[in-house]
């Protein structure tokens, strides 16, 4: 039944829970179908919707290629994964959970560095002394590149980091990092501080539509129904324009 709307939802972790709660508040009961640990599901109230449970970063890929019509995942992952984001997806509605800021953080002991311009200058001195650029540990290669280019910072190299990025500078794997933070406590515990103008993105979970998915009339109706429920349900947030 390919013309059903494919709705990709996070398959694990806190984001999965929060999604389930938000959909329940909107009066949508999501159930897993088939085997108990299956990766497919349905929404009792909306027979035209088929749910796919996949990892948050995979949801971004699904939306990028149109494998799913709709998905809920972090804006950070979508902007990181999809280079030509505006051509491929539309952000329909921020969800009000899954908040995380993608930030540039440097060692607290770098008392001479408080903003991106300082960082650029620092990287020149660093090159002269060490014969190589400053290393930035991050899983956000594309967000980092775009942001650093906008701010005119060039003397750096990204070192891919898939976990415990905040520990990279202490382990001499990098000099600075680009990572997500909510309160900044983890960064501080690792001897790091966020640069004054170093917030790359204030991200949260979003309901996102793929522009490349095969939008049958049936799928479009299902999308409208989901959006309506999520906007009208108790605890629902206002439209995107009223946010931040």
């Amino acid at each position: 039944m390919s013309e059903k709307l494919i709705f990709a939802l996070p398959s694990k972790g806190r984001l999965m829970q929060q999604c389930a709660e938000a959909l329940a508040r909107a009066g949508l009961s999501v159930t897993k179908s088939g085997a108990a640990r299956g990766y497919r599901g349905e929404i009792a109230e909306l027979p035209d919707v088929e749910v796919n449970f996949v990892s948050s970063s995979e949801i971004a890929r699904f939306l990028q290629h149109g494998t799913a019509h709709l998905g809920i995942t972090g804006e950070d992952l979508v902007r990181e994964t999809i280079a030509d984001c505006a051509q491929r997806v539309s952000f329909l509605k921020p969800c009000g959970f899954g908040h995380a800021d993608v930030v540039v953080a440097v060692p607290i002991c770098w008392i001479d560095v408080s903003n991106m311009a300082d960082l650029e200058e620092t990287s020149q001195v660093y090159w002269r002394v060490h014969g190589r650029p400053i290393r930035v540990a991050s899983k956000y290669m594309n967000l980092t590149r775009r942001f650093f280019a906008q701010r005119g910072v060039t003397g750096y190299r990204i070192v891919p980091s898939l976990g415990a990025t905040e520990g990279a500078p202490a382990a001499d794997l990098s000099e600075i990092i680009v990572d997500i933070t909510t309160t900044g406590a983890t960064l501080k515990a690792n001897g790091l501080k966020v640069l004054e103008d170093g917030v790359i993105l204030r991200s949260q979970a979003n309901l996102i539509a793929s522009k490349l998915a095969p939008w049958s009339r049936r799928a479009r109706r299902a999308k409208a129904a989901i959006l309506e429920r999520l906007s009208a349900g108790p605890g629902a947030e206002g439209p995107p324009q009223s946010k931040r």
């Binding site: 607290i108 002394v129 280019a149 005119g152």
Partner: protein
């Protein structure tokens, strides 16, 4: 592009053979550096914009490798493998594939796989002579290939460095302006900051640290800084050293006490950057402009003139060449003379060939000293497209 036709492949090969024959006849040794290059060293020396477009992969051994995004760095590595001391005169030519990710997709105008035919000239002691010889050779090759109408564009980053050297400026300001040169907005912002006493004194950095430092006594800065960090309960972390932090703080302390840049000096810099003139008239135009500001660049301008004369003697007609002081701004690794060959069929955004002087690259790739280097390459697919009348 999924594939090229056999016909096109053969046409490119035949064209390449003709180009290489011209290069080797001129005394350039034909070399074929590896397509697969170690990622680390390579990516450290190319600018970030090229780095983001380089195909990088990990082999089964866990080593990070890349497909070369150009042939200049691989040729530098080849040279250093033969002559680790670097400063040995050598001339190389090559024709081979380079690979770049194309953000707008893989199209025939911007293919992700393309061939560069070019030359590199290392450790030639007379820089202007070498600059002129390389450009003359590329022009000869382009003409021999069948291009009759083209336009030359010149820039000279060495002139800008000479201008900064002739102005009364603290060395750290020179370094900063030179570094920002290729980013017009940041450059202007820095110039504005340097002319404003208020901006120079703005407590961009912790005033309480700055106040403890005496720029005239740099040796005491380390102790003062160490003391401060200890009192603040901050431990040094990572690879960046205390002297590096001290250097920047001392510079800020010195800036706060410095007399701002005279408005006249800032004007001189801005007027220079705005110069755009036929190359033949450039020397006189720059003399006149700089005389107003009582700046004397006699020597570098003589060198500029000598390069033009050499080009004329080699049969490159420079009458219609254009000099722009700004040209070369966007090409970070060049350090001196830069040029492009533009044809009407393709327009200025897709030059047929380009090149210039890059005196610090060999040092960055591993030579123990900086080695003078100048090179150029032809975009062979573009050349063929123009010759076959395929351009829209």
């Amino acid at each position: 592009m999924i594939a090229e036709s056999t016909q096109r492949f053969e046409a490119l090969e035949a064209q390449a053979q003709r180009l290489m024959a011209i290069f080797t006849r001129a005394g350039y040794e034909h070399v074929a550096p590896s397509i697969i290059q170690p990622a680390n060293m390579f990516l450290d020396v190319v600018g970030e914009s090229l780095r983001a477009r380089t195909y990088v992969f990990t082999d089964p051994n866990g080593d990070e490798l890349c497909l070369r995004p150009d042939l200049t760095v691989p040729t530098c590595r080849l040279h250093l493998a033969r002559h680790p001391q670097g400063a040995v005169p050598a001339r190389y030519c090559y024709n081979g594939s380079a690979f770049r990710y194309q953000p707008g997709g893989d199209t025939s105008a911007h293919p992700r796989e393309f061939r560069q035919a070019g030359v590199e000239c290392f450790a030639a002691s007379d820089r202007e002579e070498a600059d002129a010889a390389v450009l003359a050779l590329i022009v000869e090759a382009v003409r021999a290939a069948g291009i009759a109408t083209f336009h030359l564009r010149f820039g000279d980053l060495g002139l800008f460095r000479a201008l900064l050297g002739a102005l009364a400026l603290p060395e750290r300001w020179r370094r900063r302006l030179l570094h920002q040169f290729w980013r017009p907005e940041a450059f202007r912002a820095e110039l504005n900051r340097l002319t404003s006493a208020e901006a120079l004194r703005a407590p961009a950095l912790k005033a309480e640290v700055i106040d403890r430092l005496d720029p005239s006594q740099p040796s005491t800065a380390l102790n003062a800084l160490e003391e401060y960090l200890e009192q603040a309960g901050l431990a040094l972390m990572g690879t960046r050293t205390l002297p590096e932090i001290a250097e920047r703080l001392l510079a800020a302390a010195a800036d706060a006490r410095e007399t701002p840049l005279a408005a006249e000096t800032a004007n001189a810099i801005e007027s220079y950057v705005a110069v755009k003139t036929p190359a033949r008239a450039a020397v006189r135009a720059l003399h006149q402009l700089l005389r107003q500001y009582r700046i004397d660049l006699a020597e570098p301008l003589q060198a500029f003139q000598r390069r033009l004369d050499d080009l004329d003697a080699a049969g490159v007609i420079t009458d219609e060449a254009e000099f722009s002081a700004e040209f070369g701004r966007n090409l970070e690794y060049y350090t001196g003379f830069v040029f492009e060959i533009v044809v009407p069929e393709l327009g200025p955004k897709s030059p047929l060939a380009g090149g210039g002087r890059y005196d610090s690259l060999l040092g960055e790739v591993g030579a123990p000293v900086d080695v003078p280097a100048v090179g150029s390459c032809i975009h062979t697919e573009r050349l063929l497209a123009v010759l076959q009348g395929e351009t829209a």
